[in-house]
Symmetry: C2
Subunit: 151 residues, 2 copies
């Protein structure tokens, strides 16, 4: 039940918030495209369902970005989804890594992303990040819940 | 100009996101009441204007909460504000501390908070946190900006 609610939240949020840790030990948060949003990225729903790993997440970013520098030194991150008007939040802890597999990068590529990466799917600045969860906590109204990981 | 936009964002967001670092070194994010929201907390606008410290922030929480435990061990945090539909985000790094000054705790207290803290303003579980910024970065559409701190 809680797992269903958590997945529904991830699949409908406009954005996901990724927090990395910088070189001085400060956490840094920024909004990311939420590729798990089914309405915005219908073609990616299949990827997320593969192997039934509901909480393995993918994000796109620029290889040259600050967050990639942070992750290379410290892969511990937080992903957060939130609908403020529903008082519903989901916090995932885990590690994140740069995806080297070109097949996955191609699967994730969206046709209008040329505006971000003019060189297309092979643009050196097109990066994909894969997040694997270690701990998940949900906040719903005044209740908190922890999700057991089976993947 | 950028400072004006940043303050306007903080004063109109529904929530603020606070990220602490847990005992295992993972960042953890959760939504907080945004006391800087002028419409929701008109009586607090004066407090935030005192001494012209635009980016000193206050939050309320439970003394018994996990975030207080994190902060006691590691005061380095991130505060993040975001309006997804405007592609506008503001990221503040700095340190946060428990406020011991009862006068400030009384100034911040809102009359309907008995539902969170049945003992009222003197409830041992009513905690106020004060954040002092060290670094501020804004994201607006495809641009990023850094704000100089003069307070």
């Amino acid at each position: 039940m809680e797992k269903t609610k958590a997945i529904e939240l991830m699949e409908t949020c406009e954005a996901a918030y990724l927090t990395t840790i910088d070189e001085k030990g400060f956490p840094r948060t920024r909004a990311m495209l939420n590729l798990k949003n089914k309405k915005q990225y219908p073609s990616l729903a299949k990827l997320f369902k593969e192997n039934n790993k509901d909480f393995t997440l993918y994000f796109t970013t620029n290889t040259s970005s600050t967050k990639v520098k942070h992750i290379e030194k410290n892969p511990k991150v937080c992903i957060y989804y939130c609908k403020q008007n529903e008082w519903h939040g989901l916090m995932l802890n885990g590690v994140i890594e740069l995806v080297k597999d070109n097949e996955i990068k191609k699967k994730i590529w969206q046709k209008n992303w040329d505006m971000y990466y003019p060189g297309g799917v092979n643009d050196a600045d097109y990066a994909v990040l894969r997040f694997k969860p270690a701990y998940i906590k949900g906040y719903f109204k005044f209740e908190q819940y922890e999700l057991k990981l089976n993947d």
